[in-house]
Subunit: 108 residues, 4 copies
């Protein structure tokens, strides 16, 4: 069963939202220092996911290349989030990894 | 019944998608010249709606001000789209006007 | 002497860059916790400044409204940065306040 | 002589501006239909160039990957613009090709 571009766009928007929520929650934690890399990657991931949704809905001819890069950034963000016990990080890791997988499935 | 920030963010994402689809469809029409203003406003509206969704999910303190501006741009985009008979324009007009209303309800 | 839209766009791009550099530098500080509000506002300010530059160069009819909001966010970001002694915060405060002023002068 | 990240960011911002000006000018032409692909690519190129400038100034670890994709989009946008005689398209072609080259030199 093939992954559609609509599934990618939908998951990318969910991932953007989750990354932004994690970004905001990380900045409220007591030990923000520990979350620095998470905060950086949340922002990168939210930006690229937002652009994927925009490129796909306007049928850009570079949608596929962007999705390929999105898979990498989602994977890295998910891997980083997974290291932290906070609920928002665990939730973000889950959604980022799902998004990475959907992106890879689409590109394949 | 109050309009929640989640409703605004959800509608803004729907509006971003619809504006991007309208942007792409306008560029495929035979008379693109007539659609120039629609194409411009679709892009403006998609950009501001995307930023509203991002600001709200990361709890920016300027979310409300941005939503106020979003209401204006959605209204203008919906008004322009409404002038054109194409299905994508009529659909876009509907969603833009809904988004403008949700934004105004939230700010009020 | 009037402030031109080109001056606004130029200053907004400088402000976007400075805010992003401050964002990154804040995340390298020992006491990131203290910088949380600065990190948030750096991101908001960079986003809105980037959109101002984009709206102005494509002659969006909402450029002026966006610049008005940009002035507010730049002012808030500059005020927050000013509280911190780090060179990157002081530099960011300076550029944000300049950008706020250029924006206000243009809108006036 | 090596290409620095500052040179990439600087050229990307110039390219974003030129693409946005070309986008707006294309929509004022008599034969907008002919410019449809140019309008699409101008938007894609402006978006990716803006993100490159943002990623680089905040020292994202994905800056290089994004620059690689930016080179491709700039090349495609420059190739399309080059087909059209309008001054804004010729100017945009020149800057896009320069940006593609700077991006490739940096990644190499």
């Amino acid at each position: 069963m093939n992954t559609t571009i609509e599934e990618v766009a939908q998951k990318a928007l969910e991932c953007q939202e989750t990354c932004n929520q994690c970004f905001s929650a990380c900045l409220k934690e007591d030990h923000v220092k520990m979350m620095a890399e998470c905060i950086r990657l949340d922002r990168d991931c939210a930006d690229i996911c937002g652009l994927v949704a925009s490129f796909s809905s306007r049928e850009s001819r570079f949608t596929k290349e962007l999705i390929q890069l999105c898979a990498e950034i989602c994977q890295a963000c998910g891997d980083e989030c997974q290291k932290h016990d906070h609920d928002h990080c665990q939730e973000c890791a889950k959604v980022c990894h799902e998004c990475a997988e959907v992106c890879r499935a689409y590109v394949a």
